[in-house]
Amino acid sequence: MKVSLFVTCLIDQFFPEVGLSTVKVLEKCGVEVSFDPRQTCCGQPAFNSGYVDESREVVEHFLAVFDDSEHIVVPSGSCATMIKTFIPGLFPEGSSKRQRAEEVGQRTLELSDFLVSVLGIQTTGARFPQAVTYHDSCHLVRELNIRSQPRQLIHGVEGVDFREMENCDRCCGFGGFFSVKSPDVSAAIGDEKVQWIRESGADYVISTDVSCLMHIDGLMRRNQVPVQTMHLAELLAQFDD
């Protein structure tokens, strides 16, 4: 099977190891991965702040890049939501652009969803003998209704000691520009999340979105909390090549 990787701009610039892990995991699962270097961003930052025209320009570029892709895999619940849920709405109902956007949306899958729902993967052969917990990112769980797939994959990791945290699906407080526009309340919400992470007794917090993890990690490092953040793809890539 061939898939196109949409790696997301945040991973591209800040967390390339997550992108590499995604490729490693997909290839381990027998998938042929292609990465089109013309790709940039899905348009979400502008869209979420109300700059819809600016967002649409970027979206048109995104659609042009991924128009022919059979499967588009995204290691981010948030960007997958933008593509599947919001992008079609940027074009008038009944227009050909709308139809194209809807088709691209249908072919797009978040990484864990793709691995479990399309490939039927139980395990990637990863081994990680550590205590981990999982943070449901808001878009993944409430817009895309993906709850069980990441957990199934975590349970498939050998040696992992999975500890569900209290309020695992409550927001971490990031919210894109919200994190810098309302920093105090964003951080206050995050502090509570960090508290639940600590109480789970885990040494690693896993999520499908680097945006949440970046925020959580920033808070934990500031407060010297001895817990590491890790993207799901990095966990699933804990096997020897």
């Binding site: 591209d12 610039q13 967390f15 808001c138 409430r142 894109g176 810098v180 105090d184 500031r222």
Partner: protein, 471 residues
């Protein structure tokens, strides 16, 4: 840039208020649990919720028809319907009626609409005393404050603060516990009930087919308000009409479980006009005041219209991570939390309440618990879009933020510019050495750095690493 400074200032104060933080923490957590447990008991919750949503959407699409039907039925029962385009008109009707009858006092049960139109302060200006009779509202009124939650107006106050208030204002013994506070309120308010000639209430549902006004409560103060005084005035937003009595079975179930986690509240009053001649007690006159006050404007947009489906259960406030941290007062509006964030700017204008739509992390927890499935996060996004569009039309407001967004779009539309830009940013990052040091002086990095460490920009981007891996 949409200025969230006002809310942010309030946030800072709210976060520093340890008493408020304690109160929010203990009460909202409990409310969320009670709602979740109660909903989990109902196997066909989703079906009930969808039914409620569809009834609302249907009614809103034929609102003129159902309002006319409601009016006809109420008139036939001997009630009178008043149409008020603005809050001012609604208030004026009450003032005129009270003056005409030489009435100087009225008792009032809980009504968010009355808060929206500032009824108490307007009546006060007309020398008419308005006594809140819901315990929470009464507490807030005694303290000279405004409600901070749809259902629990005094949620921001501790028992100790309330006891102090009662000692100061009502001469309660200082050791007063919750029961003492409650019985003091019962005694004082009972006197007001027996002496006030007008009772004002809100309306939870107005049933068009029968002209029935439905009030949902636990305390019994709404029952007293519609039973003891000679005149009952009900204030109703035009969106509160529903077509049939049978719909009540569903609405009450989803409303009450979402609101308090109860199976049923202590009292549901279904009122059909004033007392009949052969009935011994009850009001002689019944007035229903139908208030628009910005609602028909919301109705005109097919997508945003669903905002008016709200049945005021407060579940979205209880679950909202932002509301949980800052409480209701920080929003500086009648309607607070997620529903307030979408309702306030639409009832007034985006220019009047620009920051509401932005004070959210868009986490979607509100929509998940909404008993009538209002798509709150999507509405917030729509309002953000409208807010930016409105700003754009004002040329003078060409902001730095818009310029940055324009530049961002330019870069993101061109893979070549994207690569150049990322390369130069990376270079700059290295030159500066410790960008986190510089970050303190660079908005929005300043805001990020205030509470969080700044992530490292990777030495090489994914695309660079991927290419070298392929080679």
């Amino acid at each position: 840039m949409i200025n969230t400074a006002k809310i942010n200032r309030n946030v800072e104060a709210a976060l520093a208020d340890r008493q408020l933080q304690r109160n929010l923490c203990s009460t909202l957590g409990k409310s969320v649990r009670m709602r979740d447990d109660s909903v989990a008991e109902v196997p066909n919750w989703e079906e009930l919720s969808r039914y409620a949503r569809d009834v609302k959407l249907h009614t809103l699409s034929r609102l003129d028809h159902y309002l006319a039907m409601l009016e006809e039925k109420i008139t036939a029962q001997g009630g009178k319907v008043i149409w008020a385009e603005t809050g001012q008109e609604a208030v004026q009707f009450i003032v005129d009626l009270a003056r005409q009858r030489k009435i100087g006092k009225l008792v009032k049960s809980k009504s968010m609409l009355s808060e929206e139109i500032h009824l108490n302060s307007m009546l006060g200006r007309a020398q008419i005393e308005s006594i809140e009779t819901d315990l929470g509202e009464y507490i807030v009124q005694l303290a000279g404050e405004t409600p901070s939650h749809l259902l629990a107006p005094a949620l921001h106050k501790s028992q100790k603060e309330i006891a102090d208030l009662f000692v100061r204002n009502l001469g309660m013994t200082p050791s007063g516990d919750v029961h003492e506070i409650t019985s003091t309120a019962r005694r004082v308010l009972r006197e007001h009930f027996l002496s006030a000639p007008i009772g004002v209430t809100g309306v939870n549902f107005g049933v068009a087919e029968t002209g029935t006004i439905v009030l949902v409560e636990n305390e019994g103060n709404a029952r007293l308000s519609v039973s003891v005084p000679q005149i009952h005035i009900a204030l109703m937003g035009i969106e509160k009409v529903i077509p049939r009595t049978r719909d009540l079975a569903v609405f009450l179930k989803v409303l009450i479980r979402s609101a308090t986690g109860q199976k049923m509240t202590s009292y549901i009053s279904c009122l059909n006009g004033p007392r009949r001649p052969e009935e011994l007690t009850g009001p002689d006159e019944f007035y229903l005041v139908l208030v628009d006050n910005g609602r028909s404007k919301i109705l005109a947009d097919r997508f945003l219209r669903q905002t008016l489906s709200c049945i005021r259960c407060g579940a979205c406030q209880n679950i909202c991570p932002v509301y949980q941290r800052i409480g209701g007062h920080a929003y500086e509006s009648t309607y607070q939390g997620p529903i307030g964030a979408i309702l306030t700017p639409q009832l007034t204008s985006l220019a009047a309440a620009p920051e509401h739509a932005f004070a959210s992390s868009l986490c979607g927890a509100c929509q998940e618990v909404c008993p009538v499935q209002i798509e709150i996060p999507h509405i917030l996004l729509k309002l953000r879009e409208q807010a930016q569009r409105e700003k754009k039309t004002k040329a003078s407001q060409l902001s730095l933020e818009r310029l940055v967004m324009g530049g961002w779009a330019l870069v993101m539309c061109s893979p070549r510019l994207y690569v150049v830009f990322s390369r130069w940013t990376r270079r700059l990052w290295r030159w500066v050495g410790d960008i986190r040091g510089l970050g303190r002086f660079l908005t929005p990095l300043t805001h990020w750095y205030k509470h969080r460490e700044i992530p490292e920009l990777a030495a090489r981007s994914f695309r660079e690493l991927y290419r070298s891996r392929e080679e």
